[in-house]
């Protein structure tokens, strides 16, 4: 199945914009895959040093935010639009 991805903030120019993943893939699985396939800048925004999903990373699926405690169990479906938003605080 295909998952569409949009990066924002410090990762605005990161990619890919879509990934093909097997049925049953969770949101956390996609984040880990993106981190594994990316350079350090992307990886450090997605994962903690312990390999967990960075809790301050904002994640939304189809426009609805997904809190940290649900990311490991949230299964994606074909066509889901994933928004990955590192924290920003420019004032």
């Amino acid at each position: 199945m295909q998952i569409f991805i949009t990066f924002t903030g410090p990762l605005r120019q990161a990619g890919p914009n879509a990934v093909d993943v097997p049925e049953g893939t969770t949101l956390a699985d996609v984040c880990r895959r993106l981190a594994d396939e990316s350079a350090g800048e992307v990886r450090r925004h997605l994962l903690t040093v312990d390999g967990d999903i960075e809790p301050s990373l904002l994640v939304a699926v189809n426009g609805a935010g997904v809190p940290p405690e649900e990311r490991s169990c949230r299964r994606l479906v074909d066509g889901d639009e994933l928004l990955l938003m590192p924290p920003i605080a420019g004032g």
């Binding site: 903030g9 410090p10 301050s56 426009g63 809190p67 590192p86 920003i88 420019g90």
Partner: protein, 258 residues
């Protein structure tokens, strides 16, 4: 003077004239004007974002503005901090901001606090106001004010930007808060960030609008929603923010899920 129906003071003839173009805004009117005049708003930092917010709040006629910002103006602040001036380099930012706002609207009481939000002053800063605008460049400050606003039952409008992106959300009592999004100060945020003044000013102006909505009821605020604007692509999104009972700041105040 218009009779005061909201307990917030009447409007003098000069004010009726000054605000005449906005008193005809649907849902705002004289009642909204009186509500604004009766309100006090804390603006945490008056840089690119907070300065724009403070400007439009003063122009709109908020009764009392409390500006909190430490330090003196630097030359490289001037691409975005439009309440400041070149002759003011080296002078306290908050004093320059107050002078400009008093010139803009002498009906607004502008108070200055030459400090940034800290654990020592956050409770006092929030307690003196009806609403908080968070526009500091550090998560620690934003999260401190968020925690105090939630604890004291005050609304918070949080406006932020980075590069081409702007984000805006409102925290209202009983709803999700900034700590639902950012449980702790993120480890990778850097104090210096890429900023075009127009992007900071855009989200600052919208923070003022959000504040006016909350104070007057002239429109539904972004409670429980996060608005994001990619100014490079000129696309915006509004995301729902789930209330988190696990949130250490607002969790107990959030309603239980059905």
């Amino acid at each position: 003077m218009i009779a005061d129906e909201q307990g917030g003071g009447g409007l003098a003839p000069d004010e009726l004239d000054r605000y005449s173009w906005q008193r005809s805004v649907a849902g705002f009117g004289d009642d909204g004007q009186r509500r604004l005049k009766a309100a006090a708003v804390l603006v945490s930092r008056v840089g690119g974002v907070g300065g724009a917010a403070a400007t439009y709040l003063a122009a709109a006629g908020v009764g009392r503005l409390v500006l909190a910002h430490a330090g003196n103006l630097r030359r490289n602040d001037l691409n975005r901090q439009t309440l400041m001036s070149t002759p003011g380099i080296g002078r306290p930012r908050v004093e320059q901001a107050a002078e400009r706002l008093r010139d803009l609207n002498p009906h607004v009481v502008v108070e200055t606090v030459p400090e940034n939000a800290t654990a020592d002053n956050a409770a006092r800063l929030v307690a003196g106001c009806d609403l908080v605008v968070g526009a500091a460049p550090l998560f620690a400050e934003r999260l401190l004010l968020n925690a105090e606003a939630v604890r004291q039952g005050r609304p918070l409008v949080d406006a932020a930007m980075y590069d081409a992106e702007a984000r805006l959300m409102s925290v209202v009592p009983g709803g999700p808060c900034l700590a639902c999004l950012y449980p702790a100060p993120p480890p990778h945020w850097r104090r210096e960030f890429p900023v075009l003044g127009a992007v900071a000013g855009t989200v600052g102006a919208l923070a003022a609008l959000e504040t006016i909505k909350i104070l007057t009821g002239c429109g539904p605020p972004l409670a429980g929603r996060l608005w994001t604007f990619d100014t490079a692509a000129m696309t915006c999104r509004t995301l729902t923010i789930p209330a988190r009972r696990e949130c250490p700041v607002c969790g107990l105040a959030c309603p239980a899920p059905p």
